[in-house]
Amino acid sequence: MGWAVGPIVVAAGVGLVLRPHLAPADLAMLMLLGVVVVAARNPRWIGVLGTVLAIVGYDLLFITPYYRFSVSDTAYLITFVVMLIVGLAIGHLTSLLREAAQHRAQRERIASTRLVLNERLGAVASADELAEVTAAVLTEATGASCRVCWVARGTTVEAVIDGLGQPRIDHGLRDGVLAILEGSLPHYLTVDGWLVHRIQEGERLWGVVTLDPGEPPRALLDQVPFLAAVLGQVGTILERRETAAAHEAVRVEVEAGRLRTALLSTVSHDLRTPLTTIEGSASTLLTGQDAIPPATRAALLEAIQDESRRMNRLIGNLLEMVRVETGALPVRRSWQPIEEVIGVALLRVEPRLAGRAVEVDLPEDLPLVAIDELLMEHVVTNILENAARHAPGETPIRISARATEESLEIRVRDHGPGLPDAVLAAGSSATVPRGRPIGPGAGHGLGLLICRGIVSVHGGTLTLANAPDGGAELTVRLPRGVAPDGPAHEEEVTA
């Protein structure tokens, strides 16, 4: 404070030196300059003090008789009053300016913190991360170590204290948290130097934040207006996220409903076709009895067998679909060569290939992949069957695999008419054309849909494309991951 009134002391000193050469009015102006400087740069009460000091100093130093108060001084009453008014007025104006500046700074701090919260909270997914990021942003903004715990209906005090993870939690803080949970307090309270603040938007309590006073303890109450403004924003962000999640859930539900409808029409069609053949063939055999020539009889029997197998495949597809979609049966992944799965799939589709050429191109050094062999065999079988069904009988099918940095690619290429645009379009968005069966007739749809589901539970992708020179090209990409070490190397010993 001594320094604060320094300008007045300086003014008095200069005045003393120049006293012989100046008029009292000039000396008054000099002191007034000191008052203005002090009032402009200090809180209002120091301004007042400085003014009084200046008046007393002026009276003692510059009005004859010097160095004492005398009655004649009253002649300078107007000078004293003007000095006082100027000092007070300047002090008042500067304090107004200062407050305005402080408000602006506070608003800017709130706005920038809100912006940071918006940005950083938008980028995280889990509730834990949300709490962590919120606490980090608040710590940065307030300079006091902050911790955040979310609260839901029925959250206990223990859970909150646990969530806040305060090492120095004491009885008072515990009562404070309880009071905040019960909503019996205003938005904040201080306990033992700690500041505990509700994270609230509207009527809903979202969580609790605590500010550590630190060592040595610092006052945190002046952070309350800032916190109130910023934490409201946190509540708004949380609310927005919740709403978005609810919308997404509805969208998924609607999408699933649409999928089910499309699936149902495809399934009923695909199941009835083989059943029609089976029932027709069987009843022909029963009613025709011996009148049927042996060749026809054999053909009918063969049809029954073929169509039964087709139905079995379809039902297998449906079961795998349910298995993957509902997660009812766990996906059992283990490390294995893709070659084995491809071998099983080729063996399985052999009857349907009917002697068609299949080129198999598998490099010997393919890495192991972590897959559920039953599910992945289903994928390869489906894709090969699709190719066999849609490409003309004499054209070759090619299945190849290769390893890239991140993934293992399995590619099946045929020389048929290629995939229809509707399937390609549906394939890219993983949805199904509205209101009609997935893939007309013996369709691509169901099988590919299931393939996509299975591949995606493996963290991979299924890409549908038509080759530039015709024919469909389906690519399964599976993430390589980190394969375990193989068994130790052994020398060959048998002769």
């Binding site: 059992r332 084995e340 080729l346 198999v360 192991l368 062999e373």
Partner: protein
């Protein structure tokens, strides 16, 4: 039908399935006795003393695995279990509990008869599974005693583990051997934690024995269960 024809106990709750299985087996020269429940199965097994059992694991009145245990304990005969696709864990449990082989529903008659044939040979002791046996299919031969493997008349060089795995498969030629059985044979019980060892070795064996390793004809994969070496061309292991 002769009195000496082998007797097969078919345990299956669905009458139409029993009907076609009986028809197929009788045509193939077997005698058949049917059971439609777990209770009937154990009673018939004791009363009829069958030579082989075909057991559906999905019985309405009991756990198929328990029935398997009872039959296994009371009779020393081959048991072939039947279950649906997607129940590989059950199949593996049954095989590890002593079943000889399995069939996946729906199955064709040729498949059923092949499994029965292999299991009967083993059950009747026709097959010599001792260390002096040999196996031969396509252009590959295996002589267990002399530890010699040839392909198209040329010796194939195997590592000790490869040979142990192939020998175990050959002793069960035509039948399935589970992953667990092979892992224990190859690397001991500790290797059960390292199932990919087996995959790597089977892949090596195929490269050495198969004409087209990507489309195996001898060493077949039974997805989710294990491996099967095809039957020897002369019917079984012979000395």
């Amino acid at each position: 039908m002769t009195r000496n024809a082998p007797l097969v106990l078919v345990v299956e709750d669905e009458a139409p399935v029993r009907r076609f299985v009986r028809a197929a087996l009788e045509v193939a020269g077997y005698r058949v006795v049917e059971a439609e429940s777990a209770r009937e199965a154990t009673a018939h097994a004791a009363g009829w003393r069958p030579d082989l059992v075909v057991l559906d694991l999905g019985l309405p009145d009991g756990d198929g695995l328990e029935v398997l245990q009872v039959l296994r304990d009371s009779l020393r005969i081959p048991i072939i279990v039947v279950s649906a696709r997607g129940q590989e864990a059950t199949k593996v449990a049954a095989l590890d509990a002593g079943a000889d082989d399995y069939l996946t529903k729906p199955f064709g008659v040729p498949e059923l008869l092949a499994r029965l044939r292999v299991a009967m040979r083993r059950g009747l002791g026709v097959v010599r599974s001792g260390p002096d046996a040999s196996w031969r299919a396509a252009d590959v031969t295996l002589d267990l005693a002399r530890r010699v493997v040839t392909r198209s008349g040329t010796a194939v060089h195997l590592t000790p583990t490869e040979f142990r795995l192939l020998a175990l498969l050959a002793q069960h030629a035509g039948g399935v051997v589970t992953h667990q059985q092979l892992l224990e044979e190859g690397w001991g019980p500790a290797a059960l934690e390292q199932p990919h060892y087996l995959r790597v070795y089977m892949s090596q064996l195929r490269r050495k024995l198969e004409t087209d390793p990507a489309r195996p004809r001898l060493l077949l994969t039974e997805p989710g269960v294990g491996y099967r070496l095809v039957e020897s061309d002369d019917g079984g292991l012979t000395s």
